[in-house]
Point group: C2
């Protein structure tokens, strides 16, 4: 299969957060590498220090971990036009406690630590843009998680359907159930009731 990626999504996304001239855009494109993941593949794994940041061109990733009971918990899903990385581990260069896994086949644009350093050193607006993106992504996560605690399972599922209308049927029930904080069988029953 031929891979054809214009990186338009990436560039347009970055331009939402700051201005870039053509020379800078070209540099960014040169620093980005296309990475195709198959459903189930891991982009990064717990225990390892993340060395790359991914921009999702196409597909869905999920971030997950194992809790103290040994259950696998999906912390959140990340869909296209977003960056994915365990930001804490990446910045501090400490082993991650999370897995980042492809829920569907994905086309990613990845930046290595070195590339990001180069971009930061070369493009004066880079850090500002990245900071805005980071902040926005984190605020969104908080604002999505927070109300979930106050809702019952059915409402959480319905909210998920709104947010990812075409995803629910393409991902294993178990991923979704752990994200919603319920058991797989409960989710199955909730689904049936709708």
């Amino acid at each position: 299969m031929t891979i054809f990626v214009t990186m338009d999504k990436l560039i347009n996304y970055l331009l939402e957060f700051g201005q870039l001239n053509q020379q800078q855009i070209d540099l960014i494109k040169r620093k980005a590498q296309v990475l195709e993941l198959k459903k189930g593949d891991y982009f990064s794994e717990a225990g390892k220090i993340p060395k790359q940041v991914a921009f999702i061109e196409e597909g869905i990733l999920r971030v997950c971990y194992y809790n103290s009971k040994g259950d696998e918990i999906t912390k959140y899903f990340v869909d296209e036009n977003n960056f994915a990385v365990d930001i804490n581990s990446f910045n501090q260069k400490i082993p991650s406690s999370e897995y980042v896994q492809a829920v569907t086949n994905c086309t990613l644009l990845v930046f290595s630590t070195e590339s990001l350093n180069d971009l930061s050193a070369t493009i004066i607006q880079w850090d500002g843009i990245i900071n805005k993106i980071t902040e926005k992504a984190l605020v969104e996560k908080v604002n999505k998680l927070s109300p979930m605690l106050a809702e019952d399972a059915k409402t959480r599922y319905l909210s998920f359907l709104e947010k990812f209308p075409n995803l629910a049927n393409r991902i294993p029930l178990s991923y979704l159930a752990s994200y919603l904080g319920i058991t797989q069988s409960s989710l199955s029953r909730i689904r049936k009731s709708i």
Copy 2:
């Protein structure tokens, strides 16, 4: 009562995220204003554009909102040595959807938008420090909220006791219950069972 605030906590906190010389420290101290809040007072309110950022010297704030059912939900608590602000509304200068309220009597150090702009323009490291602080605070919120979804109410309550050991008995049960995502009576029963 005499108010005596050295601002040491604030300065030490900032120094965790970057270096500052004495001149810069003095400027920061001049820009900060001491604000005392009584238990129950609001630092900022939904519907208004937040004009200040608070550093908590002493005390606890909570961020809360009303959900679609009209229930008042505590989104999170913020304790001393942390900044509190509805960052999204503050940055974008749009009306907040949240209240920030004093759970206990508080001593805050507040910075106005103008002061922050001055600091940003004068202290070259300022933006970097603030970005690190912001990012860390948001990552912590996500990491605290996320596992709560996967835990049952009792575990969530016990976790809260660990995190805020001396707070649980000083705040209305209703605040805590809504934070934990359970009803007041359930929390009362859980408490009893321990």
